[in-house]
């Protein structure tokens, strides 16, 4: 006989925890919740995503600042880096974060039962959980699938034979690779690439296209590539990878470039070709849940084709894969199930960032997207050097771009490449969510001198010539 639960959550990352906690709040901790999963608790973000990547990025920034001080009079020196100690501290930080934000949190929710194992649907309301201890069936009146995503591994001849790193395995390194070839140049490749470069690796990013990723404001993305090239990272674009193989201690990436063969010799290969939704093994067809290679198909309220089953986070077929979005979706679904709501999440109001230096942060439509969909965008671009605080920081690479509706002046997209961009993009979120115009941004005092002031200055540039304006001019 199957154990029965009010809610069965498959997965135990950000979306799963958010859904479980919100459900507990709504039901006064009375909903019986099963949370089924395997591997370290907490999902991608805390274990192999945001937390370790931001840790190594900040550490590498400290090393880079010592090597390249920004201010005259402060002499450069080569930092002595014990990579193994750094990585040990990184793993310790991950462990602490996982304990405080996931393992310890569960103690407050006696209504949540953890199942260690892999779930697969055997009917529309029951899963079979397979663990080391055997198999058991778990029945749910409601389900949330929140199994996340994994690095996508491209089919390249020889790759499995010679081995490679991914954003899952790179955190186990104890020795800094001398030369690193990164296949793919999305967020993960850029962030880890810059960190390894600043710690002493020679990094080459090898990719087909000269853009970062789909959906990034083109000129802001190009400026980021320029910033990373200035930092010392090589971008080898227009490369088709034919095969990889080992030659002695080295790994050889064999590419086709402008019709000619080209070999790139590295010590380690990092795969950064995007992520795939974790749907394998769930037997979703047994539950009438529709999915594709891009993930589970959901309605606006995150219900699937089976109305008792919802999906949240990276496993969903949607534009972004973000921890914050996953957590929001988990909470929204809890409300939809237990408060009979039918809420959705507007992806146009969801900010995202690349934590390189400088940081790229973005929310809303790119100019092209808005023109394509609505045909009436206007925009302004402000170079970072026109922001006084950026000059104080001696940071000259970066820009602000604001996209607005031509008729109403309402802001529909803000894209920033600047120091601390991830910290202040929230102003863009509030602007888009509340339908602010660039006049509304101008009508609020911003602190001087901050990099965030660039959003106000860019707004002002819709109506005035910035060269004719004094400092803090209203």
């Amino acid at each position: 006989m199957a154990q029965e639960y009010d809610l069965v959550i498959i997965g135990r990352g950000a979306a799963a925890f958010s859904a479980a906690i919100r459900t507990s709040e709504i039901t006064s901790n009375q909903a019986a919740i099963a949370m089924i999963g395997f591997g370290p608790i907490g999902g991608t973000c805390v274990n192999v995503g945001c937390v370790p990547s931001k840790y190594i990025i900040e550490a590498s920034k400290a090393a880079s600042t010592q090597r390249n001080p920004r201010y005259p009079g402060i002499e450069p020196s080569d930092p002595s880096i014990a990579f193994d100690k750094l990585m040990e501290s990184l793993r310790e930080a991950v462990k602490e974060e996982r304990k405080s934000k996931y393992e310890d949190v569960l103690k407050f929710y006696p209504n949540i039962t953890l199942y260690e194992g892999k779930a697969s649907f055997i009917s529309s309301d029951t899963v079979k959980v397979t663990s080391k201890l055997g198999e058991e069936n778990v029945k749910g009146y409601n389900f949330i699938i929140a199994t996340g995503s994994s690095p996508k591994i491209p089919q390249i001849e020889g790759l499995e034979e010679i081995g490679y790193l991914t954003s899952d395995s790179v955190w186990s390194l104890n020795e800094l690779p001398g030369e690193v070839g990164i296949l793919g140049g999305g967020f993960v490749g850029l962030e880890i690439g810059q960190a390894l470069h600043r710690l002493g690796s020679s990094v080459r990013i090898i990719k087909k296209h000269d853009t970062i990723a789909r959906g990034i404001e083109r000129e802001v993305g190009s400026e980021l590539i320029r910033a990373l090239e200035n930092d010392g990272i090589s971008f080898l674009t227009e490369r088709d990878i034919e095969k990889v193989y080992r030659r002695g201690d080295k790994k050889i990436i064999s590419t086709k470039y402008k019709g000619k063969s080209e070999e790139i010799e590295v010590d380690e290969i990092l795969i950064a070709s995007g992520r795939k939704s974790n749907v394998e093994g769930l037997s979703l067809e047994n539950a009438r849940v529709e999915y594709s290679d891009n993930g589970i198909k959901v309605n606006d309220d995150f219900s699937t084709r089976n109305p008792l089953i919802y999906a949240a986070g990276d496993v969903v077929d949607q534009r972004y894969r973000l921890e914050t979005l996953a957590a929001r979706e988990g909470a929204v679904i809890a409300s939809n199930i237990f408060q009979h709501s039918s809420k959705g999440v507007s992806l146009q109001e969801v900010p995202w960032a690349i934590f390189t230096e400088p940081q790229l942060a973005s929310v809303g439509y790119t100019e092209d997207e808005y023109n394509r969909n609505f045909g009436k965008a206007i925009s302004r671009v402000l170079p970072l050097v026109t922001v006084p605080k950026a000059r104080i920081l001696r940071e000259d690479t970066g820009m602000f771009k604001i996209v607005a509706d031509e008729n109403t002046g309402k802001i529909v997209g803000i894209h920033v490449l600047a120091p601390y961009a991830a910290e202040f993009i929230i102003e863009g979120v509030m602007a888009i969510k509340n339908g602010y115009t660039y006049h509304d941004i101008i009508d609020n005092s911003h602190i001087f001198p901050t990099v965030a002031e660039g959003i106000k200055l860019t707004s002002q540039s819709f109506t005035r010539d910035m060269a004719k304006m004094s400092c803090c001019m209203e």
Partner: protein
């Protein structure tokens, strides 16, 4: 008109007063309350589905946004 027996899971009840509040809330919607159990958080009622549907009953004001009681359908017979 059709009489239905509705079984629902009720969350948020912690005392006999809660049971009374939930029972009164269900009666207010026209349901004939057969049982409301604090122990297993279940309520069984009879309804005339020409007057109120089971789906509407779990959204009654006693289970509304401001209330800390919530309900979900388990069985409609």
């Amino acid at each position: 008109m059709a009489e239905r027996k509705v079984t629902m899971r009720v969350f948020g009840m912690t005392c006999d007063d809660c049971v009374r509040t939930v029972s009164d809330g269900l009666k207010k919607e026209g349901a004939d309350v057969l049982s409301v159990s604090l122990e297993d958080g279940m309520a069984i009622v009879k309804i005339d589905d020409a007057k109120i549907s089971a789906e509407k009953l779990v959204k009654a004001s006693v289970f509304g946004e401001e209330s800390h009681y919530k309900a979900q359908l388990r069985k409609v017979e």
